[in-house]
Symmetry: C2
Subunit: 128 residues, 2 copies
Amino acid sequence: MRPLTHPSIEDITVEGILHALSDPVRAAIYARLACAERANTCSAFLQLDDRTIPKSTLSQHFRALREAGLIRSERRGVEMLNTTRCEEIQQRFPGLLQAIIQAHSIQSAGHGKPTPRRKGAAAKAKAG
Amino acid sequence: MRPLTHPSIEDITVEGILHALSDPVRAAIYARLACAERANTCSAFLQLDDRTIPKSTLSQHFRALREAGLIRSERRGVEMLNTTRCEEIQQRFPGLLQAIIQAHSIQSAGHGKPTPRRKGAAAKAKAG
DNA sequence: TCATAAGTTCGTATGTTGCGAACTATTGAA
DNA sequence: TTCAATAGTTCGCAACATACGAACTTATGA
C-alpha cells in the first residue's frame, strides 16, 4: 500500500481534470463532495444514484480523482476523509469547476433525475 | 462511408464534451477552430504544435469531436469544412466551453509554450 | 490474538485508442 | 469515359485503459 500522493497545484492539468470528470460516477462523487459540509469517506459512495458501486471500482475512482488533483484524501483511523481542492483549482483555472458542475446539474435536471420540478426546461433546449 | 451524423443539441452530454476535450490533440483542434474566422478543413491540422498527426488518427479525432457535438462538419467538394457549435452549446451549458478553453490557455502559458513572458507565475503557484 | 471494517492491489475479461494499409468519394484533366 | 490526385474514412491489430471479484493490508476494539 503506497502512501497517498497528491499532485502539487502546478502539476494539475486541464486534460487530467476533464478526463477525471468525464466519467459519470466520478462526476457524481465530485459533485457531492463539492457541496458537502464536511469530509466524506469513500464508503459513503457505495450507493450512488440508485446504483451500487463495487468497493474496488470505487477505490480506483477515488484514486483517479486524487491523482487528477481534484480531491485531497487523508487517512483517519480505519477510514479515509475526502475533500475537494476546489479553492486551489479555482485559483489556477478560474471558473472551470464551477462551469462543469453547473453543466452537470443542468443536464441532470433536463433528464428529469434530480429536481424534476420545472416544466419548460427540457422543451426550451430544443431551440437548436 | 456512412453519412456524417451530428447529435441534436439536447443529446449533447457534459461527459461527452469533457471526454472529447480531455485529449490534448482534440483540445488543440477545438481551440483553433473556436477562434478561427472561417471553417477549416481536417488536413489543416496534419501539423499541430510541432507534431505530425497521422491522417487516420486525425479522422478519428474529428469524428470524436463531431459525435460529442462540439463541431459541425460539412462536405465541400473533396474536402470537409469544420466549424464549432459553440453558440448552441453556450446556450445549453453556459460558460462551459469558455472556461475550458481559458483553462487550456492558462496552462499552456504556464508551461512556457505561448507567451513565456511573466517571471514569478510558476513560483507563486507553489503556495499549496 | 482474533474479528471486523475500510480501502488497496492483483488478475483477468472487456473496452478504447493510435496508426499503417487499404478503401471510398470527388474533382479535374486527357 | 478513364486515369491520377486529393481528402477523408474504415479495417485490423497492437498497446493501453477500465471494471470488478478475490485476496490482501491496515487500523480498531473486544
